[in-house]
């Protein structure tokens, strides 16, 4: 049977990808960011997952205002890298796992989550920066990826509670997949940041650290945070943190926090990162 081993949460700041791609990762500014992932790269390489289920948001790359799915599940064989205005990032194409992805689509829809099934989708920094942070710069990504793209741009995004419950449904689907697969779930985005307008540069490390403190042991206290509180306390783009709750919902109630990293800033953003293991 397929087995969910662990969860990884991380910010997905585009400038991190640009720093890597342009050979700036050794600079002191960026070294402070990448140092938080040294443990994580070794940890993931040793864990050797077959599939990563990667929760992220599209930044007006695959989807525009023409179509705005709340939860879009990538069921394709592969996902090309998007051109976000600078040309596509020079990273390997992302290979999907259609068998498991379709199984999850069917299972979650019958569990009353109205998923959008996507067979053609370019993926942007929201998905590729977490892969770069966790794997470095390989010629091929060392596992298959199932993208789950969540709308957090058009207000309102799904609630934290809905995200958490979807995570539980995804877990049920993974647990019922008959093939032996080692699966890890990533929840990406955040932490506090605001990219727009006169309040840009907003960072709330107190909010972020309280979120990190409660994420492993008391996620129930986080699922009730209303959207306005995220936007007021964590910046208008800090609302991306609801995506972390999908990963948390998929994990066991009791988890071991094996790694934590928090650093301000990467460009405009507070970088937060956790690794949680199920107690197998």
């Amino acid at each position: 049977m397929a087995k969910l081993l662990a969860g990884v949460t991380t910010s997905h700041v585009p400038a991190i990808g640009a720093a890597l791609d342009n050979g700036k990762s050794g600079e002191p500014y960026w070294q402070k960011v990448f140092s938080g992932y040294e443990f994580s790269k070794k940890w993931l390489a040793e864990l050797k997952p077959d599939v990563v289920f990667l929760v992220y948001n599209d930044h007006a790359s695959a989807f525009s205002l023409e179509v705005i799915p709340t939860f879009a599940l990538g069921c394709a064989e592969s996902f090309p890298i998007a051109d976000e205005g600078w040309g596509p990032r020079p990273v390997p194409a992302v290979e999907g796992h259609p068998d498991l992805a379709w199984h999850i689509a069917q299972s979650t829809i019958l569990d009353e989550f109205d998923m959008t099934i996507v067979n053609k989708m370019e993926v942007d920094h929201g998905l590729t920066v977490p892969l770069s942070l966790m794997c470095g710069q390989p010629k091929r990504w060392p596992f298959k990826v199932i993208p789950l793209c969540v709308n957090v741009i058009q207000y309102p995004p799904p609630t934290g509670h809905r995200c958490f419950m979807l995570g539980k449904a995804i877990r049920k689907a993974i647990d019922s997949f008959p093939q032996d697969l080692r699966v890890v779930i990533f929840g990406t985005g955040g932490m506090s940041h605001q990219l727009q307008g006169p309040r840009a540069g907003f960072i709330n490390s107190k909010f972020d650290n309280a979120f990190l403190d409660r994420f492993a042991k008391d996620p129930q206290s986080l699922v009730k945070i209303p959207h306005v509180d995220y936007m007021r306390e964590a910046g208008s783009e800090g609302i991306e943190l609801v995506m972390w709750l999908i990963a948390r919902g998929a994990l066991d109630d009791e988890v071991n926090e094996v790694h934590r990293f928090y650093h301000v800033p990467a460009s405009n953003t507070a970088v937060g990162h956790l690794i949680l293991e199920n107690q197998r």
Binding site: P14, A15, A18, Y29, H59, A60, S61, S64, L65, E66, A82, D83, E84, G85, W86, G87, I153, Q154, Y155, P156, S192, Q194, L195, Q196, G197, P198, R199, A200, G201, F202, I203, N204, S205, K206, F207, H227, V228, M231, R232, E233, S236, E237, V264, P265, S267, N268, A270
Partner: protein, 133 residues
């Protein structure tokens, strides 16, 4: 209809239904800059590109685009993930745009971020921005 609670957050345009409808063509223009050939055509003649391909962009939005009034674009329904594509076409990163939108120099803005960013204290409510004048 009662005003949404998020309208009290200072310096912030929450991209809700009203703003999304207002900004549709402005944002879809920005979206067109995902393609290199469109970036080249736009840069070659900005006004002509807008007139030919995006006639539904409003006169105010058109002016804001041509004058690169980044905050004005947001007030007119622009969304930062779209307007940043216009920024990228100009060679500007998210951090470059943030400095412009906050009225800082690049150096000032980058230094503020390295020092921990803009504090939540005094930046949670419009009432706090009013009182500081």
């Amino acid at each position: 209809m009662a005003e949404e609670a998020y309208e009290d957050i200072p310096g912030t345009q929450v991209f809700d239904a009203r703003r999304s409808r207002k900004g549709y063509w402005l944002n879809m223009f920005c979206m067109s800059l995902m393609k290199d050939e469109n970036r080249k055509a736009f840069k070659a003649n900005e006004a002509k590109y807008l007139d030919e391909h995006f006639p539904h962009v409003s006169p105010e939005q058109r002016e804001a685009i041509l004058k690169r009034q980044w905050n004005r674009m947001l007030e007119l329904g622009g969304n930062i993930y779209y307007t940043s594509k216009l920024g990228a076409t100009d060679g500007l990163s998210f951090q470059n745009l943030a400095a412009l939108m906050t009225g800082s120099t690049q150096e000032q803005y980058a230094a503020m971020m390295v020092a921990g960013g803009r504090s939540p204290d005094g930046n949670r409510s419009k009432s706090e921005w009013k009182s500081r004048g």
